[in-house]
Symmetry: C2
Subunit: 281 residues, 2 copies
């Protein structure tokens, strides 16, 4: 396994692989790898000749008051996990390599970027779309892998790839959860023991919604009200949003009459967590 | 020579060529081909195994009051010229193929897109950057060729390719001119005989500037004033801008003390023409 830090070196390696017609699976990450990432990596290994993982905490997708500086970083541990999972190349650039002086170009996916998390994190998805475009152009993968945990990100990346005719496939794999249901996230590492227990309320609220829908409730505002009640019972919680939206255009639905995304963002103490499920009618 | 109308068919052909490690030279055009385009095509033929020319009048780069509808279109003549010039593939999609319903993704090159022509054509360079990104992703060229006549476009495309790490080279070839100096442009076809004579004032003003600089004049506003005087002597003329700017950041310079771009946009009757030269100090 190689750890490559410059675009020049990466490009040289990729060109070598391309000339030999090797297929490339790519997993873009911000490091602090957990079982969610490792699932993507293993799947990439099964479906491609070569697996590239990028580890880059992307400043362009953090707001000025967000946790860019204290976002968990641990290359040594990440590299160990990657090696064990069969990764061929880790791309680990620094910020100047990705955003040199006078950087000016951004990719916008309109409308899909303004709702849900985009409402609370202005500029976030522009930063995501831009860095993912850059990484795709560097790695030139055949398939890139993302987690369903970041549901809005997955929708936006798929739309961007389709709109800009990028020559690759996107695969989105199901959210990996702890035994108690908490969705895997690098930010879980911030939670105290008590907060971790309270954080279970996110997946519990989603399960409640699934149960209500199975039992025949279709009215989205009523479902959301029940979820809200469950979550606000936890004193450490503060809700950014709970939304039931169309799977493609992310617009709120009033009735759960077709496949929908139920997504939420909730602060537990000082940690903002997200989770979601897809429900069929 | 093939004329391909769908992205699906194009991608199939490109994949075939890539697997055989053929190099691809790409000339994106809006058709109405003239000797400027043909110079790009011939150069592409010399430097690559395969030449792809796209012909697509891109609605996203025209303003609501601009000449999208009456922009000259003549596939038959263009195809004849391409065949003679050794083109392998013409990509000739319709607008729905490039911008399907619910299209949402745009590429912005900040700052460079707002000045000069961008000032007078809001959204124009966003449309250019977006369609060029899409075409690059479809054609996957090794080298793409642009004309220096569209100087700002060339600067923006080069910046975009560099910023987004697109895996190709951009080559910008000198402006091709009529014998009397008029820069080749598809829009020249709109000019009446009298207007065509008046239009010579654009290149004359640029030559005047070059002469003044050679003679030792360095003060940009003074040079521009002299150019303005020459142009406004033509009754059919109306100046959008005359600017002397830095070659890379396109910011106006006060003194011509390093290599600069002198660019202008002038209406001759109802036709908006652009021209430019690069001057070394």
């Amino acid at each position: 396994m190689q750890i490559i830090k410059t675009i020049k070196k990466l490009r040289k390696e990729i060109n070598k692989l391309k000339r030999r017609n090797k297929t490339i699976g790519f997993v873009p990450t911000m490091g602090a790898l957990h079982r969610g990432h490792l699932g993507l990596i293993r799947r990439a290994g099964k479906e491609n000749d070569i697996v590239v993982v990028s580890i880059f905490v992307n400043p362009a997708q953090f707001g000025p008051k967000e946790d860019f500086r204290k976002y968990p970083r641990n290359l040594k541990q990440d590299a160990g996990l990657c090696r064990k999972a069969g990764v061929d190349i880790i791309f680990y650039p620094d910020a100047k390599e990705i955003y040199p002086d006078n950087y000016k170009t951004y990719v916008f996916v309109l409308k899909l970027s303004d709702c849900l998390c985009g409402n609370f994190r202005p500029g976030h998805f522009q930063g995501v779309a831009t860095v993912v475009t850059k990484l795709f152009n560097m790695v030139q993968p055949d398939i890139a892998y993302f987690g369903q945990k970041d549901a809005q990100q997955a929708v936006i990346i798929k739309k961007m790839v389709s709109d800009l005719n990028m020559p690759l496939k996107i695969k989105v794999l199901p959210t990996v959860r702890e035994d108690e249901g908490l969705a895997m996230s690098s930010r879980n590492a911030y939670l105290s023991e008590d907060e971790r227990k309270d954080a279970l309320v996110l997946s519990k609220a989603l399960n409640l919604a699934r149960g209500l829908i199975k039992a025949g409730l279709k009215d989205a505002p009523k479902i959301i009200a029940r979820m809200r009640k469950l979550i606000t019972a936890k004193k450490t919680s503060r809700i950014d949003y709970i939304s039931i939206v169309d799977l493609e255009n992310l617009k709120p639905v009033k009735k759960v009459s077709h496949a929908c995304l139920i997504a939420l963002a909730v602060w537990i103490g000082k940690i903002r967590l997200i989770d979601n499920i897809i429900v069929k009618k």
